[in-house]
């Protein structure tokens, strides 16, 4: 019987001879990842086991990206704790200071995450790497500790759901809009415990950045992983970066899916998710008058160079609305350098934006753009839960970089068509 990509990757990473969905299997890990919030708990657990070292130095990745540059004494202590551990155990893939960026933007850039990999990360957006054709899933700190100790994780074998995107997306419709549309359709638990396999002509035409954006938000539909089959686009990106061999799996034609759904991109408008769930989506034409106090462009969802290019193309020659705080956080140092070299930073600064360092920062209400009571933000991030970006009585709307940039200029949620005709 045919197999899905997810099943093929699981099969190549487990000793279990046969398995079906719902079974618990133990799998070997290619990459295990944690950050400044989730690593400390894992390190304490790891140390309590009095092991000699981690299972494989090349396969452990630690990134200090959430509350960095340290926002207060507690977060400074937390980072130091991880830093000391990385030094003591000679963790090579340790990203700190000027080398650190938002983890899920950083790892693909570094060529650490590859097609066909089985990746676990103590961060829910680990599913991002599914955009490369990996089976990547978010776990907790203790799973990360167990992976450091044993090189393994336990997984419940998921079923797969297939989503086919047909037609040509409109000018301002990117990966973010497509995935928001999908989440709006199936809901925040629409894919609970399952794999979202995303394909179709519109997906084949997407660049890798937009594919990563889509896989990134699979968790926002409750999915265990989001996977896009690797192709020539993937290979062109990965080949110069990869330091290991990789396998590009494809699903068999007779693979089994719990559901198959088709969307026509021609009818999908740029999307906005209303507070307080990513499923509360509306097409831009149905948004109405929503004034804003802040716009944030960044994060593992939409902080890559492709996103900044879209934003800059709209902001060029325009000014950010008076009183609105437009905060732009290039997701990694490399993105920052490219944005500088391409003149994007200049465009943002001249428009009156605030440029911050590569950090998660306001995305999770950490720092660098926290909302006061009653304030409203539009962000290119992935979550708009109550209190996500600050005060429990603040509001977060989600969109792609095009809507965000246009809205920063008008001061209310707007289509780029209002700026560029």
């Amino acid at each position: 019987m045919g197999m899905t990509i997810a099943e093929k990757i699981l099969k190549s990473h487990t000793t279990a001879k046969e398995f079906k969905s719902g079974d618990i299997i133990k799998v070997d890990i290619d990459i295990a990842l944690a950050n400044d919030i989730t690593a400390p708990i894992a390190i304490k657990a790891f140390r309590s086991c009095s092991q000699k070292g981690v299972f494989d130095l090349d396969r452990i990745v630690l990134v200090l990206d959430h509350f960095t540059p340290n926002k207060d004494i507690a977060s400074a202590e937390q980072c130091k704790f991880v830093r000391d551990f990385a030094k003591e155990y000679h963790i090579g893939n340790f990203f700190d200071a000027g080398e650190a960026g938002v983890e899920h933007a950083l790892l693909p850039e570094e060529g650490l995450t590859l097609p066909g990999d089985l990746i676990i990360g103590a961060d829910s957006h680990t599913c991002t790497y599914g955009g490369l054709g990996a089976f990547a899933t978010g776990v907790g700190s203790t799973d990360f500790a167990a992976a450091m100790l044993t090189g393994q994780a336990w997984l419940k074998v998921p079923e797969s759901m297939k989503f086919i995107f047909k037609g040509k997306p409109g000018r301002w419709v990117g990966g973010k809009d497509l995935i928001l549309y999908l989440i709006g359709d199936i809901g925040v638990d629409g894919a609970l415990y399952k794999v979202l396999e995303i394909e179709g002509p519109a997906i084949s035409a997407l660049d890798l950045s937009n594919r990563l954006t889509m896989a990134n938000m699979a968790i926002e539909a409750g999915a265990k992983a989001g996977i896009i089959a690797p192709d020539a686009v993937t290979d062109a990106y990965i080949k110069p970066r990869a330091r290991r061999d990789y396998t590009m799996y494809k699903s068999d034609h007779d693979a089994t899916y719990v559901s198959i759904k088709e969307y026509d991109c021609e009818v999908i408008e740029p999307q906005v998710a209303f507070p307080h769930l990513p499923e509360n989506t509306r097409g831009i034409s149905e948004v109405g008058e929503i004034t804003l106090d802040q716009v944030v462009i960044g994060s593992c969802t939409n902080g890559r160079i492709e996103d900044l290019r879209v934003a800059a193309s709209i902001m060029k020659g325009n000014k950010v609305a008076k009183g609105l705080r437009c905060i732009i956080l290039p997701a990694t140092p490399r993105v920052f350098k490219m944005a500088e070299a391409e003149g994007l930073i200049k465009i943002f600064l001249e428009a009156g934006s605030i440029i911050g360092p590569p950090t998660c920062g306001p995305c999770l209400g950490g720092h660098m753009g926290i909302l006061a009571q009653g304030e409203r933000a539009l962000a290119t991030t992935n979550r708009n839960f109550v209190g996500r970006m600050g005060h429990p009585k603040s509001e977060v709307y989600l969109s792609g970089p095009a809507i965000a940039a246009a809205s920063a200029i008008t001061g209310k949620i707007s289509s780029p068509q209002e700026i560029i005709v």
Partner: protein, 164 residues
């Protein structure tokens, strides 16, 4: 093992930011975390909850981030188990990895009321509402997870067995 406690009821899609807001994540100290457990939906929760009490919620409990601070905060607050229609997957695995018992029962989640007293038999998943007299059967827990709970969580499991 029998768990017994008062019910605190919550709705659908209770996310990890609601269970423990990100602004408190610069620590993983259970004693600090428990004070802020559920703070943004019910600011009095941490002062009302007593050892053994039980959280009952709707679908997709624990959705959102991977933070283990969420089950840690719940466990530290004295909650003996969480029963929901369904759980978000990372919360699901984190709970077992931390040794926090969780049960899925749609029927129970819709019928039990705030303040009811429940008695939960962990091994069988049989749950009795001592106020209304109703009995429920939660979905069974797979063998490997039963091992995890018996061993006291994933790390203790590895210590004891020398493998995953």
């Amino acid at each position: 093992m029998i768990l017994k406690g008062r019910v605190f009821k919550f709705g659908d899609d209770i996310d990890t930011d609601a269970i423990i807001p990100a602004r408190y994540l610069s620590t993983s100290d259970p004693f600090v975390l428990k004070k802020h457990c559920m703070e943004d939906i019910d600011s009095t929760f941490s002062s009302k909850v007593a050892p053994g009490d039980i959280i009952v919620a709707g679908k997709n409990f624990g959705c959102g981030s991977s933070r283990e601070h969420a089950p840690i905060a719940i466990k530290a607050a004295g909650v003996s188990c969480v029963i929901a229609s369904s759980f978000a997957r990372i919360f699901f695995r984190n709970s077992f990895n931390m040794g926090l018992a969780i049960f899925e029962s749609d029927e129970l989640a819709s019928q039990v009321r705030e303040g009811d007293i429940l008695e939960v038999e962990v091994a069988t998943g049989v749950i009795k509402d001592l106020v209304t007299g109703k009995a429920f059967k939660a979905r069974g827990i797979p063998q490997f997870m039963q091992e995890l709970i018996a061993d006291g969580g994933l790390i203790e499991h590895i210590k004891k067995r020398g493998r995953l």
